[in-house]
């Protein structure tokens, strides 16, 4: 995706679902039906701030059958680089935004015999759209949803009534924790597990599943990394023949875009591999933060994911 292909939408409703999470309803500016999507999809929202442009991925949580509007939920991050802050403070009903077409990097397995969904905090969002599909189907499923406390459980009431008997809540404030061994040691053959939440939760699920012999093809996770803040560095784009300065709180991709060079992207969270860029010259080291390249590829240093990765270097030349 590049910005030439974005959809123009209008914010038609804003609701505060927890003290930290706001829920936005987006409709096409011309009120035409929006592109179809499947549960687990996200859109990249382009936010034009005063001094810079933010592009953050957010999961679509509305029913996939409803193409009149998209719904997203945005958690205000404590260490926001500006994106979630912008969504929380700069938008009002009637604001216009650009969004990229939906992309699904976290789909449900179509022939699974059972689905086990594990959400932590704002990680509930991709599951909300998937539950709309699961609810209509015949495949058994269960949702385990861990939050800090009851007031942080976004969409608590909707889940409690609609998914009664299939959802279990865990509140940190009451010292309730998911028993991963109990959850993953006795699932029927053909079960798939999906996890979206904090990094610690994702690695607990992956490690526990592996310990109980789950093959990788049955374990699914989604973790959008926010681009980390780092030291400023310089990069030279060989084909555009320009030098670009990457600021400490700017991602490499954002800096390249700000210089007027478009890089194709899908997730902007180090997951999909779409923005993979060839490194032509490097004097220093690459700071890889993505979940896409293998460890071997990372140490080889011939490729970088500019959406989340940085460099600590004297010089870096990219094939752009």
């Amino acid at each position: 995706m590049t910005d030439g292909q974005t959809l123009r939408v209008e914010v038609t409703a804003i609701a505060e679902v927890t003290p930290l999470i706001k829920h936005f309803t987006l409709r096409a500016v011309d009120r035409a039906p929006l592109p179809a999507f499947s549960g687990g999809s996200h859109v990249v929202v382009v936010m034009r701030g005063a001094n810079r442009v933010y592009r953050n991925p957010y999961s679509l949580l509305s029913p996939p059958s409803d193409r009149s509007a998209y719904q997203i939920a945005v958690r205000r991050m404590e260490a926001s680089r500006g994106g979630s802050e912008f969504m929380h403070t700069q938008l009002h009903v009637g604001s216009h935004l650009e969004i990229a077409h939906p992309v699904n990097l976290f789909p449900l397995d179509k022939i699974a015999r059972k689905h086990v969904l594990i959400a932590g905090g704002i990680g509930i969002t991709p599951f909300l759209a998937q539950l709309e599909d699961l609810h209509e189907g015949a495949i058994p499923y269960e949702l385990h949803y861990a939050v800090r406390s009851a007031e942080h459980a976004a969409f608590h009431e909707r889940l409690r009534t609609r998914e009664a008997g299939r959802v279990r809540f865990y509140h940190d404030s009451k010292a309730q924790a998911i028993d991963y061994d109990a959850l993953l040691s006795a699932q029927p053959l053909g079960t798939h597990v999906y996890v979206c939440g904090p990094a610690g939760m994702i690695s607990r699920v992956i490690d526990t599943a592996r310990r109980w012999g789950w093959p990788d093809s049955h374990v699914h996770w989604e973790k959008f990394s926010a681009p980390p803040v780092g030291e400023a560095f310089e990069v030279f784009l060989a084909r555009a023949k320009i030098g670009v300065n990457v600021l400490p709180d700017q991602s490499l991709l954002e800096a390249i875009e700000a210089a007027g060079v478009e890089v194709p992207y899908l997730c902007r969270g180090g997951v999909c591999g779409f923005c993979q860029t060839r490194v032509l010259e490097l004097d220093g080291e690459l700071l890889h933060h993505d979940h896409y390249l293998s460890d071997a590829d990372k140490s080889r240093g011939k490729s970088i994911m500019p959406c989340v990765s940085r460099a600590k270097c004297q010089s870096l030349v990219l094939d752009l």
């Binding site: 015999r113 012999g213 049955h218």
Partner: protein, 211 residues
């Protein structure tokens, strides 16, 4: 004429134990005993107690042999001697696969499946495994024994068993079928297409190519 290079034609590889599995289920038919014993030897050398969570289902298969009973007994003894707590023998692959299916229905995630035997036995076992959503990273199979094919007639949908020739008469509709490399995992069968549709009665020579 056979149209080779078809991607759906399954390719199997020599069996190796998968130490990542928690439970190990081994299915053997006839000459498949030897590779399964190799897997058990690897499991014994691996993580603690993976052998104790293994199970073998074995049949001597339909190969005509004067001393089949004695061979089957020898194989069962070998599996038990290898340290497998649960070894079950079956008169034929049909009985074995019925038991396999009910075992899968009662199994939990963490299972690895190993299949060794003639190609059609592997195909039928993997067809059942597919119904339980076992993926390629949970299944290992090694072909040993006959390469005879199950052939599905695209005209009448009858499946003719034990086909060893490039061209075969469909037992459902009596058309002469060319046996292609197109394979369906869901049907555990190769595709058979009428060979003389455009020039009735003109058939290439019949050769045994799936011994």
């Amino acid at each position: 004429m056979l149209v080779t290079g078809i991607k759906s034609k399954p390719v199997y590889a020599p069996l190796r134990a998968d130490p990542g599995g928690r439970y190990h289920l081994l299915l053997g038919n006839g000459p498949g005993a030897a590779p399964l014993l190799q897997v058990l030897a690897e499991l014994r050398g691996g993580a603690a107690d993976s052998l104790g969570r293994s199970r073998v289902l074995f049949t001597p298969g339909a190969q005509p042999s004067t001393d089949t009973g004695a061979e089957a007994h020898a194989d069962s003894t070998a599996f038990s001697a290898a340290g497998v707590p649960d070894v079950r023998s079956f008169a034929d692959s049909g009985a074995l696969l019925a038991e396999f299916e009910s075992l899968l229905a009662a199994s939990v995630m963490g299972l690895r499946l190993y299949v060794a035997g003639p190609e059609s036995f592997i195909g039928l076992a993997l067809k059942i495994a597919l119904d339980f959503n076992l993926n390629t990273d949970e299944i290992r199979a090694q072909e040993c024994g006959s390469a005879a094919r199950r052939v599905r007639c695209v005209h009448c949908r009858h499946t003719t068993e034990d086909v060893r020739t490039n061209i075969v008469e469909c037992l459902g509709c009596r058309r002469w079928l060319l046996v292609r490399d197109h394979y369906s995992r869901r049907l555990a069968a190769y595709m058979g297409v009428m060979v003389d549709a455009e020039a009735p009665g003109q058939r290439p020579p019949i050769q045994e190519i799936f011994p």
